[in-house]
């Protein structure tokens, strides 16, 4: 897999991940969490990253921020190689990149007041003027739909999950970053609240000119906010393409399986009896060749022998499969 397989068109990439490999050693076993992944995100773009639990999508997000050490590969942010940076240089770069987590209540310190929580990035960034900090905190809280006067003095437990996620978004925005990694930002929220937060993220993206990496397991949620979608399975990318195109005509059998598995809220659509495709194998000993082959109806000898590389099957749509569902050309 080469580093630059996806032409980004006229837009310059803000983030480029090249041949990234992340492994953990647990109890003497090596877990292949991210294996040779390359992708790019253009400035102003939202890239959705989908996959089931344990596929390495969160690890990939953390490795971008250098919260996980990569075994090999590069992470280029605005042309700077983050994997080669350390200390102050890395900290300065990180101000431009923020992270929003799945569990909004767990990611807020229960003993700190909302005002302090949202101001903390400013304190760390060295904004010494307390009045200026209060002003910035007030602005960003209003932007996410909270009334600063009512919330700054209160504690996280006084808020619902949806409101806590608004606080997390405010905290991520207060340093005016360029890039935000959202790791399952709505999966802990109820349906009616989920829609509010997804809409808020879209508004904030437009208002602050953000670029987003949106990590989630729910395909419909990812599609709702993403320009392009990358599908990950057991540490590798299966397919990358523009969201509407990818969901209308998936090229990878795994993408197709994910789409079929979504329950449709329409009783006229009888759920197709699911194909007994089994469960994902362990990332400690991933299958040889294509990692999806043990669950794939199209797998043959070639899939076991040779790992498929990402290639463009139709313009802008890349698939790592020897037998894609749409023919190349």
């Amino acid at each position: 897999m080469t580093g630059d397989i996806q032409p980004s068109g006229s837009r310059d990439p803000l983030l480029k991940v090249e041949n990234l490999v992340v492994e953990y050693v647990v109890g003497g076993n090596t877990i292949h969490a991210v294996s040779d992944v390359s992708l790019h995100i253009a400035r102003g773009e939202t890239l959705g990253l989908v996959g089931e639990s344990g596929c390495g999508k969160s690890t990939l997000g953390r490795a971008v921020l250098q919260l996980r050490q990569a075994v090999s590969g590069r992470v280029l942010f605005d042309g700077h190689d983050l994997t080669a940076m350390q200390g102050d240089a890395l900290r300065r770069m990180r101000r431009r990149v923020q992270l929003i987590f799945q569990d909004p209540i767990a990611s807020l310190n229960p003993r700190r007041r909302i005002g302090e929580i949202v101001a903390e990035p400013l304190v760390i960034a060295g904004v010494k003027d307390a009045k200026r900090r209060r002003q910035l905190v007030g602005d960003v809280l209003s932007a996410v739909g909270l009334d600063p006067g009512l919330v700054v003095g209160r504690l996280p437990h006084e808020f619902s999950g949806g409101q806590c996620q608004r606080v997390c978004i405010a905290r991520a925005l207060v340093l005016n970053p360029e890039f935000i990694i959202c790791d399952e930002p709505v999966s802990a929220l109820d349906v009616s609240i989920r829609a509010q937060i997804l809409n808020l993220l879209e508004e904030m993206k437009a208002r602050y000119g953000l670029t987003l990496l949106f990590i989630a397991h729910d395909l419909a949620v990812v599609k709702a906010v993403s320009d392009r979608v990358a599908v990950m399975y057991l540490g590798r990318l299966c397919e990358v393409g523009p969201s509407a195109q990818l969901f209308a005509r998936p090229a990878h059998p795994y993408t197709a399986l994910l789409i079929e598995a979504i329950p449709v809220p329409d009783p006229e659509v009888r759920p197709a009896e699911s194909v007994p495709v089994g469960e994902p194998p362990s990332p400690i000993a991933p299958p040889s060749g294509c990692r999806f082959r043990t669950r794939c109806p199209r797998a043959d000898r070639q899939c076991a022998d040779q790992a498929p590389e990402l290639r463009e099957v139709v313009p802008q749509q890349f698939v790592a499969c020897h037998h894609p569902l749409i023919a190349a050309g």
């Binding site: 395909l219 329950p263 809220p265």
Partner: protein
């Protein structure tokens, strides 16, 4: 529902004392389910769906106060003593929880747990119970069932654990299975497999099932009837095809609209429901949904609408201003 009811819940209310005052978790709920039928109960967190299922199972927290009647197979479960209840649960009334680890014992092997259940309830001898256990594990799609009997729950994946929990629930041929968010903790591809498994076993055993979920997508293709709960009450209930053809309660319609659809164009703003559910310790006067409802007016703020059907008793809704059609026009 047709035929005599297997389960009927009559005027059930559950109150929980909290430091902030009384919390009414379930408020005057009536429902019934016939043999072999599937009822979906849909609602968001805190709407009382789990408390309702616990009230049916008589597994409420100690401090909870329950009123009303729960008639199951001719007996009032509320009046039943602990010992007959214990015999009933696991035998003819079974449950599958969201997290299989809450029902599986982490220090016992899968085999011990299954065999024990069979011996306890069906009084089978060891060898027969063992044979039945292997058959059950195979029936729920667990490969190499003999070897699994020797494994502990932590050695299995989440999907496999849920299959084991289902095998245990099905082991004594229950008449009613309550599945409380059985797939919420699982991945999508595994979710589809588990829902299919439940549907298949239900048909085969002519078992009734209550499927509790927050996902309208899950109930759409897999239930005969749906009850939607909001703030402790059932706000709409109808046969599944009728409900999806025409949602009358604005909350149900808004809940469906708020789900991102896979065939929608990316970056389309979602029709979100503003605000959030009411604090259950501070009951709302009038309709509980009125603070968030765009059709609320006058009477909605003063009187609680009763669950009733205008055209037929099949389709009931608790609303003064029901939607006239699925497209959202008002009557």
């Amino acid at each position: 529902m047709t035929g005599p009811a297997l389960l009927s819940v009559e005027n059930v209310a559950v109150d929980l004392p909290t430091p902030r005052g009384n919390l009414r978790a379930v408020d005057q709920v009536d429902l019934s389910i016939g043999a072999g039928q599937t009822l979906g109960i849909v609602g968001e967190s805190g709407c009382g769906k789990t408390m309702l299922s616990r009230a049916i199972l008589q597994l409420l927290p100690k401090k909870a106060r329950l009123s009303g009647r729960v008639m199951f197979d001719g007996q009032d479960l509320v009046a039943l003593g602990p010992e007959p209840l214990r015999k009933l649960r696991g035998r003819s009334l079974a449950v599958v929880f969201q997290d299989p680890m809450t029902s599986l014992n982490p220090v016992l092997t899968i085999g011990t747990q299954l065999i024990e259940t069979l011996q306890e309830h069906l009084e089978l001898d060891g060898a027969t119970a063992r044979k039945r256990s292997v058959e059950l594990l195979a029936a729920v799609g667990i490969p190499a069932p003999e070897q699994r009997l020797l494994q502990y729950p932590h050695q299995l994946s989440g999907g496999m654990r849920q299959r084991v929990a289902i095998a245990i629930a099905l082991s004594c041929e229950p008449k009613l299975l309550i599945a409380d968010e059985p797939t919420t903790a699982l991945d999508v591809t595994i979710q589809a497999q588990i829902l299919d498994l439940l549907a298949r076993e239900q048909r085969r055993r002519h078992m009734a099932m209550i499927l509790i979920t927050h996902d309208l997508g899950v109930v759409a293709g897999r239930t005969d009837e749906v009850a939607v709960m909001y703030a402790g009450r059932i706000v709409e209930r109808a046969p599944t095809p009728v409900l999806f053809r025409q949602m009358r309660m604005p909350y149900t319609a808004a809940l469906l609209a708020a789900i991102p659809k896979i065939d929608a164009v990316p970056h389309t703003p979602l029709p979100a429901i503003g605000g959030r559910p009411p604090d259950p310790t501070r009951p709302v006067q009038g309709c509980s949904f009125s603070p968030r409802c765009r059709y609320a007016a006058g009477e909605c703020y003063r009187t609680k609408p009763a669950l009733a059907g205008a055209e037929s008793c099949d389709h009931q809704y608790a609303c003064f201003h029901p939607l006239a059609s699925a497209t959202g026009f008002r009557a």
